[in-house]
């Protein structure tokens, strides 16, 4: 199977979108699933949320972060990834929740936001509100890459107020929770922000499911690298999640464990930069 890139566009200065041929993944995709990418035969297995599946293609939003995501950014339409595996994870049920919010502030969260809103809206009895926040006007994704058309109500926010509502997704959510009855909140994005968001929903007694991104290796439940602690019980983000009840997550452990390979990642990046210098 050749996992050819069929589209690659910038979302903003940091994030880009790719469409990749992966028919088996596309066929089984449900919103909330992620894929595992291996770009080269000596590459890492990296998890990426799937934004949508269309025909034999899947769409992913990727942040230029470390070695793999930056290297992939130098690839073009027509290049092929070594492996695309999935869909992985156990997404939350798609059902009638009532007034349901999806809030996101980061690349993976935005992809999940689009995916979930699209399907939640199709279910009778749901009123779907999407909140997407970005730091500033320049960071806002193009309209077709936002959940605007997929939600009943769409709230765009920027940290500096340069476009849309001023503030972060948490500020917008707080206003909503003050104003009306929200039955269910989903959220994805920055982990420390998700902790705060979970605490907020607890105050208002509203259930919340958030993505708990953790470092994954196999993503099939065999290594325990992605372990998260839910009400003291150990779960695996790759097979039991990655979405969990935000009120029960041990956030301190999740935040701490995500930084385990910081030093090594910097080393990989340095090495990659050296190599790129040599190429130029």
């Amino acid at each position: 199977m050749k996992h050819t890139i069929t589209r690659k566009e910038d979302l903003n200065a940091a994030d880009y979108v790719i469409d990749v041929i992966a028919p088996k993944v596309a066929k089984k995709f449900r919103p909330g699933n992620f894929a595992v990418l291996i770009t080269r035969s000596n590459g890492e297995r990296i998890p990426m949320s799937i934004e949508k599946a269309e025909g034999d293609k899947i769409t992913m939003y990727i942040k230029r972060l470390g070695k793999t995501s930056r290297e992939l950014d130098t690839w073009n339409v027509g290049d092929a990834l070594y492996k695309v595996i999935g869909p992985m994870g156990t997404p939350p049920p798609l059902k009638k929740y009532g007034t349901v919010v999806f809030a996101s502030d980061l690349v993976c969260g935005h992809a999940e936001n689009n995916a979930m809103c699209r399907e939640l809206k199709k279910i009778e009895g749901n009123h779907v509100i999407s909140i997407q926040s970005f730091p500033t006007k320049e960071d806002v994704y193009p309209e077709k890459e936002r959940a605007k058309k997929d939600a009943d109500e769409y709230i765009l926010a920027t940290g500096d107020g340069s476009v849309g509502r001023k503030g972060h997704m948490i500020d917008v959510l707080q206003e909503l929770l003050e104003e009306r009855k929200i039955d269910m909140v989903f959220a994805g994005g920055d982990i420390p922000a998700l902790q705060k968001l979970s605490e907020l929903t607890k105050k208002y007694n509203v259930p919340v499911m958030t993505t708990v991104r953790q470092i994954m290796v196999d993503a099939t439940g065999m290594c325990g690298s992605c372990r998260v602690f839910i009400d003291g019980e150990q779960k695996l983000a790759c097979i039991d999640g990655p979405m969990f009840d935000g009120h029960k997550v041990d956030w301190e452990a999740a935040i701490s464990r995500l930084a385990m390979f910081k030093g090594k990642e910097a080393e990989a990046m340095e090495c990659y930069n050296e190599k790129m210098k040599a190429v130029v």
Binding site: K28, N42, M88, V217, T220, G224, K264
Partner: protein, 458 residues
């Protein structure tokens, strides 16, 4: 007559080998192999064969080696064993074939494992394979997992003419042989060659296919005449003690998957990182613990401790592994058991609290039972902890197929013919037992193949 001693196995020097991942034993030369084979007494009743779970024709194979008929020896060994190059290297021979050899009493049993590895390696060097062109019988069998149980079952069923498709979740085939056992024990060219045999005889291996997740079990049931489940026992077990969330605390599976499957020892030219500190504590004393400890040493750790609640005489690890680990400077701390892990304010592990143990009576396995000595707790400084407490059956598949009957601890239930409660669905290997040996898994795969064949011809 004085007993002639075993022909010694040449090995990489410990000082050198802790800096690389190349095979520790260098293998017999043809002359050495012939000399070792000639020591065999060719017993009338070859007890050695009673110790081999797949009943290899040990005596005859050794005789062929003694006569320098390596090709015949290889073909005969392939009759009962799909992967002799691997079992020769990883079987616990001291408990199996070599443990039963009449010469064992003298302390100098025939080195059966290394002889068989020699023959298989010789065949590989000479690009020899036992060619079989099976007569197609039109039956389709799906096999889930690609570890030793699956490999054996696949080969046997293919030889009977079935169309066999293996579905493997990972991006490389082989199960534990690929992701668990390090290359210095089982070189990857050996694994690759043995697997290429499957493809050569026409077994279809589909990688990245997680049955129950991206491949529907229901679809498999519709599309295939029988299914064999050998999904292994790869789910890590944790102590569930304080401090296990800390950074620097690994399950042995994570540590070994990073090193072996993802080649983290070649970081950064390979992308997957691994963090290994200077003072590493490995909890447990089985093969998994030995592999973890020896990998840590090779990643540059200065001090590596095996922390074990019994003594190494009771350890489940192969004798050769313990011996090699000691040569490599791994420090064995016996009769101690872990209580909790300690960390600093950045969330990194800094130590482990252990308690001393003493033996009181015996447990179900017949081994002395260790009990904690109250008040004897002490703290060891470590910056990396590897949990090698054993594993439980992989639950991703199981949780997606609730109608499959399992034991409370997760093992799949089967009848005497290895059939599960779902007709036409068979199971084997570590997924039944929760963990055993390569050769047990293979024996299991062989028995299941026989049952599946009977079922298909009913």
């Amino acid at each position: 007559m004085a007993i002639q001693e075993r022909i010694p196995m040449r090995e990489q020097d410990p000082e050198v080998r802790i800096t690389n991942f190349l095979s520790v034993p260098l293998g017999y030369s043809a002359e050495e192999a012939v000399a070792e084979a000639k020591r065999c007494l060719q017993c009338k009743v070859p007890l050695c064969e009673t110790g081999c779970p797949v009943r290899m024709d040990i005596k005859d194979i050794i005789n062929l080696i003694a006569d320098e008929k390596f090709e015949e020896a290889f073909l005969l060994s392939k009759k009962d064993n799909a992967v002799p190059a691997m079992t020769g290297r990883v079987c616990p021979q001291e408990d199996q074939c070599e443990g039963k050899c009449v010469l064992d009493k003298t302390g100098q049993p025939i080195n059966i494992g290394k002889l068989f590895a020699f023959v298989a390696d010789w065949a590989r060097d000479n690009e020899l394979m036992d060619e079989t062109t099976p007569q197609e019988n039109g039956k389709k069998v799906a096999i889930v997992g690609s570890g030793p149980a699956s490999i054996t079952c696949a080969v046997d069923l293919r030889k009977l003419g079935c169309h066999v498709t293996i579905f493997e979740a990972l991006h490389m085939a082989g199960g534990v042989l690929q992701y668990g056992i390090p290359a210095f024990r089982l070189p990857r060219d050996v694994v690759d060659y043995e697997l290429s045999y499957l493809e050569k005889i026409g077994v279809d291996i589909q990688l990245n296919q997680v049955v129950g997740q991206n491949v529907d079990f229901e679809e498999l049931k519709k599309d295939y005449d029988a299914i064999y489940l050998a999904t292994g026992a790869g789910a890590p077990r944790f102590l569930n003690c304080e401090g296990e969330k800390l950074k620097g605390v690994y399950s042995a599976n994570e540590f070994l998957i990073r090193v072996n499957l993802m080649k983290a020892y070649k970081f950064p030219s390979w992308d997957t990182p691994i963090f290994c500190g200077n003072k590493v504590g490995v909890i447990g004393c089985g093969n998994v613990a030995m592999d973890s400890a020896r990998c840590a040493k090779r990643l540059g750790a200065k001090e590596v401790y095996i922390l074990y609640r019994r003594t190494k005489q009771c350890a489940p690890a192969r004798a050769e592994e313990i011996h090699h680990a000691e040569e490599e400077g791994i420090i064995f701390k016996e009769m101690i058991s872990p209580c909790r892990m300690l960390g600093n304010e950045d969330g990194w592990v800094t130590g482990i609290e252990m308690v001393k143990t003493e033996f009181k009576g015996t447990d179900k396995s017949g081994r002395p039972r260790p009990v904690n000595i109250e008040g004897s707790e002490f703290i060891m400084e470590v910056d990396t902890i590897i949990n090698a407490l054993g594993t439980t059956p992989n639950r991703l598949f199981l949780s997606n197929v609730p109608e499959l009957e399992t034991h409370s601890w997760g093992g799949i239930k089967v009848d005497d013919n290895f059939m599960t409660n779902i007709p036409g669905v068979f199971a084997g290997g570590d997924a039944l037992s929760g963990g055993s040996t390569v050769i047990e898994a293979m024996g299991n795969g062989r028995d299941a193949a026989e049952s599946i064949n009977k079922y298909l011809n009913k």
